[in-house]
């Protein structure tokens, strides 16, 4: 699997993503600067976490208009898998590749902690190695992770199987207490209609090595290897 990681000014999880990708693929991914307008041949594009453009105007709003994003959108249309983590998820909603938006956390606080999420499906290239009836533990680290879309959009997303992950308790139960940031319907991650574009607020690349407190995120990257 050939992977590319897009680097925006203010990205700060690009290297973590590269380390996690290399650990499972054996090959370092290509790091692509946001100002480039071309991508190498690639099977997976990762939009990493961070604070692209200092979160000016809205998180992800500036990065969405970076030259490279036109190419990312074109490749997504061709079916190349796109993974947006945290700020990358915000960039995907700002470009319109994913619906809705990520607002300020309901608590107004930056939240950095391990949370449990439950995969809603495991028939996508990202989630093959997950079970849909149990929780995985992955950290979040964000201030703007409060997923919002209007009720009609949410109903449509649920109907079309676009919800990827929901915040849940340790045993997988979806409850308001397990929702760290006020996200509508506990949504932590979302697919596009094809299931090949995924945005999620939790950081799988920060849970890709048992030495760092957990490896539940690693299976996402392992799923990609077996699928791409």
């Amino acid at each position: 699997m050939r992977a590319s990681v897009i680097v925006f000014p203010g990205s700060n999880c690009d290297r973590d993503a590269a380390v996690a990708l290399e650990a499972v693929t054996g090959t370092p991914p290509r790091m692509v600067w946001h100002g480039d307008s071309e991508l190498p041949q690639t099977d997976l594009i990762v939009l990493p976490g961070g604070f692209s453009y200092g979160d000016y105007l809205r998180s992800g709003a500036m990065a969405a208009h970076s030259p490279i994003m036109r190419e990312v959108a074109a490749r997504a249309l061709e079916g190349v898998a796109v993974l947006g983590i945290c700020n990358g998820f915000q960039v995907l909603t700002e470009t319109g590749l994913l619906p809705g938006t990520l607002m300020r956390n309901a608590s107004l606080k930056f939240i950095c902690k391990d949370v449990h999420v439950r995969p809603e499906r495991n028939d996508t290239v990202f989630a093959k190695l997950y079970a849909t009836d149990s929780a995985i533990k992955i950290p979040i680290a964000h201030k703007d992770g409060n997923y919002f879309a209007d009720d009609d959009t949410l109903d449509r997303l649920e109907g079309e199987g676009q919800v990827a992950f929901r915040y849940c308790g340790e045993d997988g139960e979806i409850a308001p207490e397990a929702n760290p940031n006020g996200s509508q319907r506990n949504i932590a991650g979302l697919y596009d209609k094809t299931g090949r574009v995924l945005g999620l607020m939790p950081h799988p690349e920060r849970a890709a090595d048992p030495a760092l407190g957990g490896a539940d995120g690693r299976r996402l990257f392992e799923s990609l290897i077996s699928g791409l």
Partner: protein, 81 residues
């Protein structure tokens, strides 16, 4: 020409920052505030002198960047006042 753009949250979208401001006003002893909604105010200097063309440019700016249509409304005024 100067334009003043106001971006506000749509009706029905929760505004935790506005709520925090309302609480802070109450703790200052300023009573009678029944709600606060926070938005953005953006001043744009335009080289365009034709108001119709300026409005067209502002529409595009607001739709494509300044406001997020999922959660925000926008309005603008043109003029040097």
């Amino acid at each position: 020409m100067k334009a003043r753009v106001t971006v506000t949250l749509k009706h029905g979208v929760l505004d935790p920052q506005g709520k925090a401001i309302a609480n802070a006003l109450a703790s200052l002893g300023i009573d009678g505030v029944s709600g606060v909604r926070q938005g953005k105010f953006i001043e744009v200097e335009l080289a365009e002198t034709d108001p119709a063309l300026a409005r067209a440019a502002l529409e595009r700016m607001c739709k494509e960047l300044l406001a997020n249509p999922v959660i925000e409304n926008y309005r603008y005024e043109l003029g040097d006042a």
